[in-house]
Each structure stands twice: as C-alpha cells, then as structure tokens.
C-alpha cells in the first residue's frame, strides 16, 4: 500500500515534468531576444516574435485583476463575517457553481453581453470574461483564509476597544493577508493560460495594439492560431510561446509561495 502511494505521488508530478521537458526541447531553440521584442513575421518568413501577445496577455491579466480581485476579496470578507446568513449561503453556493462553469460558456456569455451590442471584439471583453472567472476563485480562498484566523485574535482586538469593522480590516484581513495574496496569485496564474473565454472576446490580433476597445493578442490565442497552422516555423513559434506562457505562470506561482512567508510567522493555534 505504501508502495502504491509512493508510485502515485511520483506519477502525480510526472505530467508537469514531461510537459516542461517537452516544451524546453521544442521551444527553447526558438527563444531569443527578438521573440520578446518583435512582432509576428509574415507566413513563411523565419524569425519574428510575440511581443504583442506577451503585452496583450499582461494587459488582459491586469484588466481581469482590476475586476476580479476587489469583488472577490470583498465577497470573501462578507462570507467570512456573515457566515450564517441566507445571503452568505446563497453566495457561497453560487460561487461554487460559477467556479465549475466551463470557461467556453463564460466566453460565449461575455460575447453576448460585451461584444455583440457594440459589434466589435475588444480587450475589455476578454478581461471581463477572465475577471469573472477569477471572482469565485478569489472569493472562496479569501473566505477560507479569513476563517482560519483564530477567534482569539479577533476578540483580543475587540477587547482593546477596536470597532468591529476596524477589527475586520486591521486584524483579521491583515493576519490573513499572506494567504489572500497567495489565493489571488493562484487565480491570476489560473486565468493567464485560459484560451476559451478569449476566442469570442479578445479575438487575437496580428498587430500591435494596447487599446482596451480593440481586439488584442494573447499568448494562448497566438499559440492556438500557430499550432493549428501547417507551417513548421509557426509550430516552432507556438512551442516557444507555450514555454513563455508556462514560465509566466511559474513566476506567478513562485511569487505566491514567496508571499506566504510572512515576516512574523503564522499566528499561534
């Protein structure tokens, strides 16, 4: 039995190891400074980069975070403070449903609401779709992190004469901050690689654009476009793009790990 769990533990990490090895093998050779600074080349022309897609992905993450983080953290705070109320139970349940919603559905919905009425694709629509995906993730991790803050700390602040709202913010939220930051970064890492919600919203763009009202390039979309094409050069670029994307996600994950190392350590009990 112990032997089986040992094997399972190794198998659990195997996909990541294989994917990383494969990406490095296929993609590393196409990586160069030009890949980060140049625009995509024409068909059949060697070289060229994904500068627009890298910037586009960062912009989409930014828009999504502006929408997803405040709403998610606020909702999580509400759920933790008012855990027994009917509204809290409803919000918690709907959050879980939203969390399980297929991302393509989110994309279609964003298209229906944000793209169709204005008759053109936009970075904003893509960011909103990604932000909406972040909300339930951030809400639930925030709630969980707040609930593990010991009641004794809350009482200590209240007994010192802190008003309730100030206790929530300066003691409970502060103590849980490292955990909430981790949750937020995990959510960012999770949406950074999403492709489906962007297909009908951000659309992708072969040209340089940083306007939120225009279609925008994104790494996952660019990888998708290049990968389903027949040109070897584009295939190589797609591998390199995948390697860059996974590196971005990895950096965010590492930042999340780093953020959890709080200066004063975890609270006792």
């Amino acid at each position: 039995m112990i032997g089986f769990t040992y094997l399972a533990a190794i198998l659990a990490t195997l996909p990541l190891v294989l994917i990383l090895a494969h990406l490095v093998r296929k993609g590393a050779s196409s990586l160069s400074l030009a890949f980060f600074t140049h625009m995509p080349g024409s068909v059949g022309e060697p070289g060229g980069g994904m500068a627009n897609a890298i910037v586009g992905t960062l912009m989409l993450i930014g828009i999504a975070s502006i929408i997803g983080l405040p709403i998610g953290i606020g909702a999580g705070l509400y759920l933790a403070e008012k855990k027994g109320t009917p509204l809290a139970s409803t919000v918690r349940f709907l959050s879980d449903v939203l969390n399980g919603l297929p991302s393509i559905v989110m994309g279609i919905f964003a298209w229906e609401v944000l793209v169709r009425p204005v008759r053109h694709f936009s970075a904003l629509a893509g960011g909103v779709a990604l932000g909406a995906m972040m909300i339930p993730l951030v809400t639930r991790t925030t709630e969980e992190m707040l609930l593990v803050v010991p009641t004794s700390l809350r009482e200590a602040a209240l007994a010192l004469g802190y008003p309730k709202w100030r206790t929530s913010i300066s003691v409970v939220l502060r103590t849980a901050l490292a955990g909430i930051v981790t949750g937020a970064l995990v959510a960012v890492a999770r949406i950074a690689g999403e492709t489906a919600p962007l297909l009908f919203t951000a659309l992708g763009n072969q040209f340089w654009s940083t306007s939120v009202r225009e279609p925008i390039a994104a790494l996952p979309l660019q990888i998708f476009t290049y990968a389903i094409n027949a040109y070897d050069e584009w295939h190589r670029q797609a591998w390199a793009g995948a390697l860059v994307l996974i590196t971005i996600v990895l950096i965010i994950s590492l930042a999340a790990r780093f953020a959890t190392r709080s200066r004063f350590g975890a609270p006792v009990d």
Binding site: E155, A159, L160, G161, Y162, P163
Partner: protein, 268 residues
Amino acid sequence: MTAVAPVARPASAAAANTIGTIEARDFSFWYGKKQALKGISMKVPPRSVTALIGPSGCGKSTFLRSINRLNDLIPGVRHEGDLCLDSNSVYNPSLDVVALRQRVGMVFQRWNPFPKSIYENVAYGPRINGIADEASLDEIVERSLRRTAIWDEVKDRLRTSALGLSGGQQQRVCIARALANQPEVLLLDEPASALDPSSTQRIEELVYELKRELTIIIVTHNLQQAARASEYTAFFFTGELVEFGPTEQIFTSPREERTEAYITGRFG
C-alpha cells in the same frame, strides 16, 4: 497614576476612590434559549481582586464577558437586569461599547498576541485612541511592559515578533497590551491555566501588584490560585451565584453547603 486618559472619567477625588466599581443587579443572561446566568447580584469593590470559581459551564466566563460586552458578538444573546461600571449601566444604549472596552481590559486563557512585533502589540490600543507620536507611544509601551515585569526580558527585542516569546512571556505581553489602555478594570479569563508553575506564580504576583491601581476579576479553575491571589471570591454554580464574600471566609467557613462541597472537592 498620571494617565493619558483616553475617555472621560470622574474627576473629583471622592469619585476617584470608587472608580472601577462593578455591580450586578439581578443580572440574567441567555444564549438563545439557554439561560447561562440567573439573577446575579454582587458588588465588586474597586482596587480589589475577585476570583470567580465554579465548575465548567457554571457561567463564570459568561459573567466576565458580560462586563466588557464581548458576549454581544454572539448571535441570539439577551440579558435582563443590569450590570454597572461606576454606577453607569454598561448596557445603556447611549454608552459607547468601544469606550467601555478601553476602560475594561481583558486577558484571555490562551495568550493571543497579534502576529506583530512586541512593541506593536502593546501600542495597539493607544494607537486607536489617537496617540500617534512616537515619544508618547514609546513611553506607554515601556511603562506597560515594566508594569508586567517583562521589560528587562524584552527591551532589546521590542521590534521582533511577539510570537517568538515563551508562553508565559506572551501572556505577560498580552497583559501589558491590556494595561496600555489605562483601564480601570482588568478581566482575566483563566490567565494562567495553560502556563507552567513558575510562569503562573509570576502572573499571580503581577495580579497582586496591579490591584493597587485597578479592579481585577479573575476566572480560575484553580482553587489554590483563588485562595492565594484574591481578596473576594464568588462561587458560581449552574448559572447562579451561590456565594460571594471575602476569600478567607469562603474558603474557611462557607455559608452554603454547595460552596463547601465544591471547595472540599466533593464535586466539580
């Protein structure tokens, strides 16, 4: 004691002698349908140590937490009768709970410093009273830590985490944190029950020192501790106040049979 008084207090000399008087008048308390306190009437004199004793679930902690209204946070609680601090009801609708809690400090069974530095822990209360300048805060922090006899142990590491201290030290920092608000009453909820004997002794000595300046009410499961550290003892049983009187009388010649049975260890 020259105080950086955060809240208005009776100013005259005559009133000063009664500051910190706590009086319960036929006070009852419910958690939902469950009655936790039944018609408690007692008057705790100022600058004294009163021990609340009794078996688990007898209502002594509920009584303690009613004085600074920390029980208000639990949904579905209600009370009848009255609890007064310096002749003013703590349940008076016009009373500011925040100001009340600054006058009534509390220390918990499980030491609960914030995950911050020792200095920040002690300065926490004064900061909310609007004391912002460093010199005043430094002075309050030092004075509070000296009063809990821990200054010499921590003065070189004030900016390090309070969680790095031993349990007994953390508890004394928590007491210093409560004292930094200049309270007139200090509530101690089994402050030494999780500490080793020598730390317990230090806390008891501290209680003895502090009662010269403020009223102390201490909940304890340890009868020896009640006998050693307190001047008055209140024996609670199933939500009733069975007997309240000078500690010596309670322990040597209790009037109630139930008190005697508890003190001699026949139940509880």
